[in-house]
Amino acid sequence: MNPYYIKEKKVSNTIIEIKGLTKNFDDQQVLRGIDLNIHENEFLTLLGPSGCGKTTILRIIAGFEEPSQGEVLFSGEDLTKIPSYKREVNTVFQKYSLFPFLNVYDNVAFGLNLKKVDKEIIHEKVTKMLGLVGLQGFEKRDVTLLSGGQQQRVAIARALVNEPKVLLLDEPLGALDAKLRKEMQTELKKIQQEVGITFIFVTHDQEEALSMSDTVVVLNDGVIQQIGTPIDIYNEPENRFVANFIGESNIIEGTMLDDCLVKFDDVEFVCVDKGFKKNEEIEVVLRPEDIKIVDLKDGQLRGKVVSEVFKGVHYEYIVQTDKRDYKVHTTEFYNLGIEVGMRLDPDDIHVMYTMEY
């Protein structure tokens, strides 16, 4: 029924298990009890605002930081006892961290050279990898003279060429322009599926997270807000933070009158959410693209168009009712100042628990 559970069956064994992980720096608690299972071949994305602890989680998995409390298991083994150079994990660092004294080729070949792989095989793999990230012909170039985007792609190639069991990617596409970013997203996803590596991918770009991942983990301030498929996260945000962070939304306080019946702005709506207490105070998320503008007489809600912005594919309108302003996305054009009605289908109304804080 829920697409997440279908996915869950396809996804195989747990490879990394994080239990009750906390991390303190001095007196600041950066991670506050993270519980997370990461599966083989999973594309898992850590998504959250700057400073929420994404990099710290990766650094603990890679072995550059010790957990303050909690456990990290890798294939059932306690990871903290294994030094970082022995872990079957490679990292694409947020700041690239390329070796300035090596050229592009030798940077990418660094890991394979350490493993004493045959020179010809190294040459073959490195050349293939450089082709994959679009840097063929750059072999002899000095990495310090590359552009940010090129350095980032060298960093991806340098990690990926080792074919680790788990690849940690810390905002690996941050320095690329929109077009290259899209290309690399597709390429990374393809590589991940072909080679069958687990990706733990960090980004604060929600669109990137939604389009690439099997599982999205939304983090805020060291606490997991929600774990789910991109569709789940987008359609069924569990709280106001997730709803706000992922996509644009109208968040409205309301009351759950009964199963599948919610009331907000003094209007009763049929919805699909069940299992709340009778008359429980809840919050409703309405995505701007789910609100349909209709003739005034057909509307469940009525208001006046007070603002119109062209966004490329669609227009963004602000419709002012006597209760609040609604943000609405549609491809139709409406004149400023006209009165319109708005309708909501039952499955466009997402009910969530009110956040305690």
Binding site: S97, F99, P100, F101, F110, L114
Partner: protein, 275 residues
């Protein structure tokens, strides 16, 4: 901005009198006859020819040899020292670096005399040896005593630049190496050593240049017959009074130093990056 440029003028005048004029005089002395007067200057290449006499050539070779040995000893002792210091906590590092530089606060003469009382035939070390029943060793006025003195004198010039380059090294590169599977030893040889190369190069340059041009230490610890380039120059100016030959030797030494510095700059990876 133009306004401030005027402030440089006094310095230009000063450097002219303190650097350019003496340099010009050295060049002039080195290519003229000793009998020249202000009105009657006769040029001659004889002083430069004289340097190629075996006696003097030997002095050059001896100096270079001693410089190389001193540099190698300083590097092999100084690098581990700098590395260990850089591993300590920040406050401890400050103290250790201070300790490394303490000898520099004491006058070279004083320190060198201390060596004499340690190393001489009836000095502290030999007396200790005889107490333990070991035959005394002759240490003063040998290559050993000179190198010992030079190494201790110049060690800070090796340790400090290496320490600086180790501490300002980008630590994330060490993590990147570990991430790619390098153990401690591999991380050191493949990454840390390469990143500290600029410090190593300036350490080598300084120690070598200072050791081939020194004259106090070889004179006191090597004895009267122990002659290096520095002593040769000193002799020509002070005891023999042949300023012309002394200038020629100084000029050759200066050329050697300039050539070496250019060479060292070439192999410094930091210099290459800017091209």
């Amino acid at each position: 901005m133009k306004h401030f440029k005027k402030l440089i003028n006094p310095y230009i005048v000063w450097s002219f009198f303190l650097i350019v004029v003496p340099l010009f005089l050295i060049v002039l002395y080195s290519i003229t006859k000793g009998t020249s007067t202000l009105v009657n200057i006769t040029f001659t290449p004889e002083h430069f020819k004289k340097i190629f006499e075996p006696v003097y050539l030997n002095v050059f070779f001896k100096s270079l040899q001693l410089g190389i040995i001193t540099t190698i000893v300083c590097l092999t002792l100084g690098y581990p020292m700098a590395y260990i210091i850089s591993k300590a906590s920040e406050s401890v590092q400050g103290i250790l670096i201070l300790l490394v530089t303490i000898p520099m606060w004491i006058n070279t003469l004083l320190r060198t005399y201390a060596w004499i009382s340690l190393l001489s035939d009836n000095g502290l070390i030999n007396r200790l040896l005889s107490v333990m029943g070991i035959a005394p060793a002759h240490m003063m006025y040998t290559d050993f005593s000179v190198i010992m003195g030079l190494v201790c004198d110049l060690m800070p010039f090796m340790v400090i630049p290496i320490h600086t380059s180790l501490t300002k090294m980008d630590h994330s590169l060490v993590e990147a190496a570990a991430d790619l599977g390098a153990n401690k030893v591999q991380t050191f040889t493949k990454v840390i050593l390469k990143l500290s190369l600029p410090g190593v190069i300036s350490g080598i340059t300084m120690v070598f240049l200072l050791s081939i041009s020194t004259f106090v230490i070889p004179k006191l610890l090597g004895g009267a017959q122990y002659t290096l380039i520095g002593n040769l120059i000193e002799q020509q100016f002070i005891s023999i009074g042949d300023w012309n030959f002394g200038s020629a030797i100084s000029l050759i030494l200066a050329l050697i130093i300039i050539a070496l510095m250019r060479f060292m700059n070439k192999i410094d990876p930091d210099e290459k990056g800017g091209e």
